[in-house]
Point group: C2
Chain length 430, copies 2
């Protein structure tokens, strides 16, 4: 029981330094709970000279990360460099082929190559773990793979990207524009210099595809996650949504419908009293519905050095304890391959916003289009911009209908001559 | 991998029948995730003839429950009969001594005998698991023992009793009295015929003591959980709390303060926008603060056949997978023994309610007492009962102060001649 678990860390950014700090600060506690010490043997990063705020002198500096994969004195390699391909995935392959454990926070790599890597792990009987890849410090991978493992889970949804949630709640509370909040977030380090992965929903889509595979026992299918980000959301949308009793959240949703798997990341309107409406700032939340357990909700910090390090070290503790679970709960070969579903064939309610010229007959045109498409209006706000003959901003909430009808209506509204800015649709959370 | 895990079930009430149903309905899924089948071999209950809505004919009926402890064809015994002592604990001892696994939903037994049973499990190297004993279907034992295991946790709190939460939220939404809601809950089967354990906070105290031991690595100390239930809460308290911006919840709180362990179950006022204020009906929620992960919140069904069975079977899946974790995360002998703390030595804010005679000088007397004790008033509602010369109901929220001062003030107010009903104090959630 007292043989240490010997680890190598590749990547010493914020999270890597956080893992070093956590393993050092809480060493005794971790040894007690893991049943044996977890010792850092070697570390690797691009720049050796950089001050990372942690003492790296006790560890071997390994210039060649991939050498860790074959180092005799390393049991587990932690990969914290990121990127779907390149060094991360070649390292993962090598580590798992050599029968060592592999722990990662790399959601892009798991979303793209999780199946292949899980198969490699099964072949060599070595653990592949990625708790830190989804929802930061929230132990949702363990909860779905273990705590809720007796349940058939047919649907899950959640707020999976802290940057988007921070931006949306800042727009909400301060009335600021998307661009202003994004710039402020970048200055504070809450958003990346290139925020594409976050604000276009790709990061959340990576996480959603991983959660869906684990929860449903289906093959990973990142390519069929319908993904839409938050760039097109205006302050006026946030305000109109609030006036109608909703908040806007970037939500990832996945559910099974017969032999189809529906996966979608998109900005949705959630009622003010819905649990997700209360998830503010950079928090994450995941909600899963099991057939026996009912609804489970998990909430916590979705990113940051401390929470992510907490998830990485929880994986190490599992490995130190000798826990042996398939990376996706079941053997890769027993995962079910599903056809992608089409959300537009389902039913739901939507928010439609359009800016139109303040001229007679515009509302008659729009409401006639909705009627002709079979979409009925639940509520509507029309407000001018205050200037004579200026634009009018229209926000509509529809009753439940087939979403392809709503899509058709939006297309027809876009073609009206009086429409100044193309209409935008967001669905309401089901 | 395909050797079945063979189980015996002792106790076939709602939860026992739920476990049979879950293992039957989700058999393929559970086999896939557990890596091998989980087979029910034998069952036991007091009354063989009773219809439990599940087919028990495939299983051996074992008249003597304790014979399961030595049956060669049983690997794990599930105990679902309840009770801190008696058959439950003698069965547990025998099962663990014989090197078999023991899975239970019995919070009273674990709170009272968890240390002794964990030691027996360590001696024989057999698993002792009790996920279902705390917070029903929410996998909080696994979350604290695994997902958050890298963290030093210094405080946790939560809503741990669904019956009390149901009663309080019904009083809130319907304005009904405690007695009326309790009777209705009993008629619906939401509350036991003898509701003492629930409404006096004992059930929540059992769960809190277990959570504290697991989260802090301290010895179980149920005897020092300060416990108070919800019997004394009146509709007027619920209304006054709402008018002042609060809801009343029965909350279990535990935290470390130096070498002291503070554990308390009591009705508290929580601000309307606090996450616990939104936990309604029979839901449970647990919040834990870790030094690296920050705040984690878990919410779900706290009771019921399905959720409890989900937790029991999750434990079986862990055992089937060969997972070997100490029952309380660390060996019993390495648990820390703490001194009990005294909440009254801490600081906090309180709600004080009193019914007084509508006569001159009463308010002057009460406010003078508070001033003399060093307790300052943040808000106060005084309202007559509408009749001439009738009683006056006073509700006060104090500013933060040392709680022993507040206690002293309440004692002095109780001694006033004008006080018709002894004053009642509830603290605000810190």
């Amino acid at each position: 029981m007292s043989t240490p678990l010997r680890i190598g860390i590749v990547g010493l950014g914020t999270v890597g330094a956080g893992v070093v700090k956590l393993l050092t600060d809480n060493r005794d506690l971790i040894t007690g709970r893991a049943g044996r010490p977890i010792d850092i043997i070697a570390v690797n990063a691009r720049d050796r000279s950089k001050d990372r705020g942690v003492d790296l002198s006790p560890y071997r500096w390994q210039d060649d990360a991939s050498a860790m994969a074959s180092a005799d004195d390393i049991d587990v390699v932690i990969e914290l460099i990121g990127g779907a391909d390149g060094l991360a995935v070649s390292l993962a392959r090598k580590v798992l082929e050599n029968g060592k454990g592999f722990v990662t926070a790399n959601k892009a790599m798991i979303a793209h190559h999780g199946g292949e890597l899980a198969r490699a792990a099964e072949r060599s009987g070595s653990p592949l773990k990625y708790e830190a890849a989804v929802a930061g410090g929230i132990p949702v991978i363990k909860a779905l793979g273990g705590g809720a493992a007796a349940n058939e889970i047919k649907s899950l949804f959640g707020i999976l990207n802290g940057t988007c949630n921070y931006i949306l709640t800042e727009m909400e509370s301060k009335g600021s524009s998307f661009d202003d909040v994004l710039q402020a977030a970048q200055a504070l380090g809450y958003a990346e210099a290139d925020p594409t992965f976050d604000i276009d929903g790709i990061d959340a889509a990576h996480k959603l595809a991983i959660l869906a595979s684990l929860a449903f026992g289906t093959e990973l299918d990142f390519d069929h996650v319908e993904t839409r980000g938050i760039r097109e959301i205006e302050t006026a949308d946030v305000e109109r949504a609030a006036a109608l009793g909703y908040r806007i959240r970037l939500v990832g949703e996945a559910r099974l419908d017969g032999d189809r798997l529906l996966q979608r990341v998109h900005p949705v309107l959630v009622p003010l009293d819905h649990p997700l409406a209360k998830v503010t700032g950079s928090l994450n939340a995941v909600v899963a519905d099991g057939d026996f357990v009912g609804r489970l909700t998990f909430e916590g910090a979705g990113a940051g050095a401390g929470p992510t390090a907490s998830a990485v070290v929880a994986d190490l503790i599992d490995i130190a304890r000798g826990e042996a679970v398939h990376a996706f709960g079941v053997p890769v070969d027993s995962q079910i391959k599903m056809q992608p579903g089409d959300h537009e064939q389902g039913i739901g309610r939507s928010y439609i916003r359009a800016a139109v010229a303040d001229q007679p007959g515009v509302m008659a045109d729009i409401t006639a289009i909705l009627r002709d498409c079979g979409v009925s209006i639940e509520s509507l706000i029309q407000r001018g911009d205050g200037s004579d003959g200026g634009d009018v901003f229209i926000a509509i909430i529809t009753h439940e209908t087939q979403l392809h009808r709503t899509a058709q209506a939006v297309e027809k509204i876009a073609a009206l001559g009086s429409v100044i800015q193309p209409p935008m649709r967001m669905d309401l959370l089901n």
